[in-house]
């Protein structure tokens, strides 16, 4: 714990200075437009009055994010393994991957609404699209970049089938899969703003976009702070999981 404080002490000082600068500039100067630079106290007030809505938003966003990410993990890793291992298929389909992966998920909103039965499923689909590509492409890259040593080694002991995938290919490509998943995770909080643009009455993205539309920047900033805290916690948690899964990369011999 002491270590933790030591490591992040400078980070905390920087954060404190940023907040202090905001307080000073917005409270004691008329330099900036008060609408988009609301005084810090207003943000705190907005945070307190909206905290219930923010927490409700957290739960409804998780209701979209969790199934979307779960789907993206299963299909992204599954598909990534397939195309990583099959060079021919990869050659045929990679132009599609390059065409579709950079498209903003917003583009798919009308199609998702038209093709899927409910607004919730359409929102999940938008999030899914955002999260799928980094995981999928990360997995393909992970498989392609597996060291030749591992292949040779696997070949000489004749590993096949399920063991081949679970005991060799997945762990060997795990660093890239997990880094793709990390990207997907951060990205999905951005996509959340798009995914909650229809049908959603609450949500972390909805909150920001909604109050931006009314120029209620004290609320927007309160929402941003709330979201940042959530994202930070999720990322820290994810890094922990990642470290545990990749434990074998940091082992020390006795």
């Amino acid at each position: 714990m002491a270590n933790f404080f030591k490591r992040y002490s400078i980070t905390a000082v920087i954060a404190f200075l940023l907040v202090a600068a905001w307080v000073i500039i917005t409270t004691y100067s008329t330099l900036l437009n008060p609408v988009i630079f609301p005084p810090a106290l207003d943000i705190v007030k907005a945070f307190i009055s909206a905290v219930g809505e923010l927490i409700q938003g957290f739960f409804s966003s998780m209701g979209l994010l969790i199934p979307a990410l779960a789907g993206a993990l299963v299909t992204g890793i599954g598909g990534g393994l397939y195309f990583g291992l099959h060079e021919k298929g990869r050659a045929i389909f990679s132009p599609f991957f390059h065409t579709f992966s950079p498209l903003p998920p917003t583009l798919f909103i009308p199609y998702a609404i038209a093709l899927l039965p409910t607004f919730k499923s359409a929102s999940i689909a938008i999030l899914f699209i955002g999260a799928f590509w980094p995981i999928f492409l990360g997995t393909i890259q992970g498989v392609i970049l597996i060291e030749k040593h591992y292949w040779d080694n696997a070949k000489t002991i004749g590993v096949r089938g399920k063991d081949f995938i679970w005991k060799i290919v997945l762990p060997a490509s795990a660093p890239h899969i997990l880094s793709g998943t990390g990207t997907a995770l951060t990205l999905s909080f951005i996509v959340l703003m798009m995914a909650e643009m229809f049908g959603a009455q609450s949500g972390m993205g909805h909150f920001i976009v909604y109050y931006t539309d009314f120029s209620q920047y004290d609320y927007v900033l309160a929402g941003l702070i709330f979201n940042s805290i959530i994202i930070l916690m999720i990322i820290i948690l994810f890094e922990k999981v990642k470290k545990r899964m990749l434990f074998w990369m940091n082992l020390k011999s006795e």
Partner: protein
């Protein structure tokens, strides 16, 4: 040691019947890497029960030939024959020990062995029996205390012991070893040399072993195959080691014959190296400035 392996005992009996049969063969093999010719017109026969060492400087193609013998690469021309059958891929009858990557770092020593054993024994043995067997093989190489350890937690010597245990556990007649002790400290190296000699001698496994260390080659080998510095690598000479087995390290290394033989061996190798140097100097006149 032998008691552990019912099937290797059976093979031992066969061995007596077909003494000194050719197990593994390279017939006018050549190999290219892109435009570069790595190996040229290689002829080689590995006899049953033999301990054969490939020796030569780096880049002479000795490790490449081992990969070809293992079926991990295919020759551009010529062929590899295993038990008189053309080899077209990896074979279950061969086990390989690599320099430092025979173990998957995300699996414990035991899991590494289990993974290999499972592929052969899935149908005949239960999971528990396979685990038991893996543990016994690790004990055999004095790693009983480290069965649950990950490769990252083991020293280089311990990792190679585990790798050897895995190769042994596969029960193949032939074990190919690619500079397996190259990264080890001298003492550990000596211990492991004793181990592989014992494996060859007591378990009658045929071993093909790559090294560039003359001392190691002489101590281990029945026959040393000398490679010229490539590319392209060619076999300059195949030399029978004139010392009977089992060998006593101290006596051997103190003997005059050993020193003479080692000098001869180094002479053969250095001759090739020097020729090579002269060649490149002739090819690039004046470029040394």
């Amino acid at each position: 040691m032998v008691r552990l392996l019912d099937y290797s005992v059976e093979k031992e009996e066969q061995l007596e019947k077909l003494e000194a049969a050719t197990k593994l063969e390279a017939k006018s093999v050549s190999f290219h890497y892109g435009e570069t010719e790595i190996l040229k017109d290689i002829h080689l026969e590995v006899k049953e029960g033999e301990f054969i060492v490939f020796m030569g400087p780096s880049g002479s193609g000795k490790s490449t030939l081992l990969r070809l013998l293992a079926g991990l690469s295919q020759p551009r021309s010529g062929e590899i024959r295993l038990n008189h059958q053309r080899l077209s891929g990896v074979s279950e009858e061969l086990a390989v020990v690599f320099q430092d990557y025979s173990l998957f770092p995300w699996l414990t020593a035991q899991e590494n062995l289990v993974l290999a054993l499972k592929q052969k024994l899935k149908k005949t043995k239960t999971k528990k029996e396979i685990q038991q067997l893996a543990e016994e093989y690790l004990q055999l190489v004095q790693l009983g205390h480290a069965v649950k350890k990950y490769p990252g937690e083991l020293s280089g010597g311990m990792r190679q012991r585990a790798a050897i245990a895995r190769a042994l556990s596969l029960g193949t007649e032939i074990i190919l070893m690619d500079e397996p002790f190259g990264a080890l400290d001298p003492l550990t190296r000596i211990q492991l040399q004793e181990l592989v000699v014992a494996i060859n001698w007591e378990q009658k496994r045929t071993i093909v072993f790559v090294t560039h260390d003359a001392e190691e080659a002489i101590f281990l080998a029945d026959r040393i195959v000398m490679f010229s510095p490539g590319p392209p690598g060619i076999i300059v000479e195949t030399i029978d080691v004139p010392f009977s087995k089992p060998r006593n390290r101290k006596q051997l290394f103190d003997s005059k014959e050993y020193i003479e033989f080692r000098d001869y061996l180094l002479g053969v190798m250095n001759k090739g190296v020097l020729e090579r140097l002269n060649q490149s100097q002739q090819l690039l006149p004046g470029e040394g400035i």
